[in-house]
Symmetry: C2
Subunit: 515 residues, 2 copies
């Protein structure tokens, strides 16, 4: 620094350059060529709180806890900031992993090894692993075609047909690195100028807002109704689009996350029909983020896909331009690390499809492990097959447990002073509201944080429980929330909820306006 200052000083004194030149000397001698000033405004402004400062602090704590002399009042970091089931010890499905392992080591399926292999792997897993090679996959180490393996897309289409009762075309399916990549691709198709806007729920999963910011698009928020279990109201959609259009925004699409992230709402078929109506009337493309379709906990609100709803409505509703997303990361698979996912296109202009294919091809192809995991998700063991019973048992055990944990965590939050929490009808999250005291708000301001971030940071520092402040998802002005998954295993739930309850009590006492 010393040296740099001297060099700079020298330059200026000797040559007395013009103001511009002086600025240039500054930039070439003190600053890096690539510095924060070079970074595009959209990138600088993009925010992604699910991996933001609180989870980053949690990772620091995780390392500090390894020191046996640590002085924290807790023993572990509980990562409730992200829907990462297996990180919190949800067991992977045995059949899925068996097939993946066999695909990696085809020698296990050679005749000379088969007797040994059969002692460790069931026949149907072997048969399934062999099917990939029989269908033309040379190796799990090859790039596939950019859209993803053809026969896997065929299985995805069959899955959609069984689920919805309407035709699905493998050529309209793109396999991607998780649903995230598919969403990014589709937003790249939609955003073509500074005035193009997309309606997104608020609170929303910040992949949407962050990617829109990066692409220079406009986020047009519509608010979910906290007083009505975070439902979507058509009036609110109308208000949102009117406001955006009056402001000169060219609103081109609507994003619906169902079941919802971060709030866990599920949408009734009647409301879905109204949403389809709204899109058709307003000339909007619909992006249906349905990655939590297997995570529903309210039997009165079972999952229905927007594809099925629009097809059943018939007429011009069938022409609705729809992108539907699904993923291997959620549901009862929870295979986040595989980066498997897909998007189905329905009613999309073939010329636009070609542009999507080009985008996919620049990254060559999605992870083969992700493609195979997707295949196993859409085509699981069938009744009568050797692995069927275990698969169903593992699946049901996860689903039942998630349902119990969802209910329990909501109850815990509702038992806390000044906290209210809607039931988690679906997905993997609760989104409680905390009414923070003036004192707590003032303290947050003093520390240069939003009040919800202050609460979450205190929660983390005192319990090891990592959550995401509501401000990372968007929330109504003056309200404070946080997102907390209910993914800790049931045997850890007592301890986990006790930590949260005790912390909250102390926090409310410490920051009581009456004290």
């Amino acid at each position: 620094m010393m040296l740099r200052n001297l060099a700079l000083k020298g330059k200026i004194e000797v040559s007395e350059p013009s103001k511009t030149l002086r600025a240039l000397n500054f930039s070439t001698q003190i600053k890096k060529v690539l510095n924060l000033d070079c970074i595009s405004k959209p990138l600088k402004e993009a925010e992604y709180a699910v991996r933001g400062s609180i989870p980053a602090r949690a990772e620091e704590l995780f390392l500090q806890l390894k020191n046996p002399q640590h002085r924290f009042p807790f023993q572990q970091v509980v990562r409730c900031n992200i829907g990462n089931p297996q990180e919190l010890r949800q067991k992977p499905l045995t059949f899925v992993r068996q097939v993946l392992a066999l695909v990696e080591c085809p020698y296990l399926m050679e005749e000379k090894n088969m007797a040994q292999t059969l002692k460790l792997f069931p026949k149907d897993a072997i048969k399934r692993a062999q099917s990939y090679f029989e269908n033309g996959m040379v190796s799990s180490g090859s790039y596939t075609i950019s859209q993803g393996m053809t026969f896997i897309r065929g299985h995805v289409a069959q899955f959609i047909e069984r689920r919805d009762g309407f035709p699905s075309d493998p050529n309209k399916i793109f396999l991607t690195n998780g649903a995230s990549q598919a969403v990014t691709f589709v937003l790249q198709l939609l955003i073509s100028g500074l005035d193009v806007g997309i309606m997104i729920p608020t609170p929303q999963y910040p992949l949407y807002s962050a990617t829109l910011t990066l692409l220079n698009g406009v986020s047009c928020p519509y608010y979910l109704d906290e007083d009505d279990d975070w439902s979507i109201s058509i009036n609110e959609l109308r208000r949102s689009i009117q406001q955006a259009r009056q402001g000169g925004t060219n609103v081109r699409a609507l994003v619906v996350i169902n079941p919802g992230n971060p709030v866990g709402n599920c949408i009734s078929v009647a409301r879905m029909e109204e949403i389809v109506d709204f899109c058709v009337a307003e000339n909007l493309v619909l992006l249906a983020d349905e990655v939590y379709q297997e995570n529903t906990y309210n039997s009165a609100l079972p999952f229905a896909s927007f594809k099925r709803v629009k097809e059943r409505m018939g007429g011009r509703h069938r022409d609705l331009e729809l992108f539907s997303f699904h993923s291997t990361s959620k549901g009862f698979f929870g295979e986040c690390g595989k980066r498997g996912g897909y998007v189905e296109l329905s009613g999309i202009d073939p010329e636009v499809e070609k542009q999507l294919l080009k985008l996919a091809s620049i990254g060559l192809c999605s992870s083969v492990a992700g493609q195979i995991t997707t295949d196993l998700m859409v085509d699981p063991p069938a009744p009568g097959e050797e692995s069927y019973e275990l698969f169903v048992q593992e699946k049901q055990s996860i689903i039942d447990s998630l349902k119990r944990r969802a209910r329990r965590l909501v109850e815990v939050f509702n038992s806390l002073e000044a906290v209210t929490c809607n039931p988690a009808q679906g997905a993997l999250y609760t989104f409680p509201q905390v009414r923070l005291s003036k004192k707590a708000i003032a303290e947050a301001e003093r520390r240069g944080m939003t009040p919800d971030a202050f609460y979450c940071l205190q929660l983390l520092e005192n319990t090891g429980v990592s959550t995401v402040p509501g401000s990372g998802f968007g929330q109504k002005e003056g309200t404070f929330h946080f997102r907390c998954t209910f993914l800790p295993q049931e045997e850890e739930f007592d301890c986990f909820t006790e930590l949260v309850q005790n912390f909250h009590k102390r926090f409310m006492e410490e920051y009581s306006d009456n004290s």
Copy 2:
């Protein structure tokens, strides 16, 4: 269509709207909401020939060849358009696949199964698989932290230190979905406005040009010298940057691909030092694409990393801002489908690093299979370990064979009339020049194709050999090339080269200007 025309007609006749309104009615009634006009100019203009029309036609042929009554004069599609070794039956390394399989199925390593497992897997593969869990990986199905697993980044840093003899910091390493994703991230950091340019080699791997187009950046080509084995000349770098800067472009970085894609050139250390000098003098960030670092075939030009070269040069050269890329897809691994890769940052502003971390976090994390494959690449079996001998034998066999095939294919091309081909000093590609006749050029024009695309299409239709026209990589005006990998297995090489030779002879006869 009928109905739509009527509706449109009605609208116009009844209301006689203004020209603008009429255009609006057109667009809302005939066109899709999302149509080609909505697609951003950069996306429409981006091109990626490696997966372009010729490879797409190859996939059609692949399907048609399945029909036993096909009438093609060949039996298979030979995919020489892309560096995808395992698709052309390069065998994966046994140890790599064993570890990946064991990581998928931890039950294989439980005590009750160990005796059986040891009959199918070597001890060191088991130990290695266990090490991931011992190092804190809960499951291969978890999202990792966005930058990639910490201890794997530690191994990458150790690998770089062993390779270069200079320190490397795990915190400056980002694990990504192949090197492609890393390159995209870095270009996103660099491009902040319409006037920002990046110098790229020409011919170049079109990931760079396509991504720059998508990001609204400026590609500033510098030409490789075909007459000097596709070398990089400093004078040409100077010409390129001067021209770009005179045109108002803010040139911020230089891309060097070494060994080179698509031309297979290798750069001498002396020339690398000149390139580092040039970057320092011209205030450029250097992007070193070193994914082919294990693929060198000329002992006079062994691989050296730009990191090592700049560190050895010392002084202010060490401050050069450098991004170095590597991948599991090439070398002797060839594990393209795993999507493993990394970028090492050296001399980069910490504030810029934070922006990179944000970009990485929006996609959550890279493929875990890719991360583990990266780990195995940088930390292979050591001498004395059970798998060492087989690993070295498999590795050497692939490297030796690639070397022979590189030489052979170049010889074949040089034996053809009107074809010249520089030796492939590295990478996986030949890039022969074909001097096409006026007649061939005229026929291409008649068909609305570039002459090189016409040649490649004819080659494909007559032999099943899929290549990429030189125009997809950039080439000097009036010259015609194509890129062809030498990845067919040696036992197929006679047949493959005979097909190419016979085709070329017939093509030259058919399109001879003298006939």
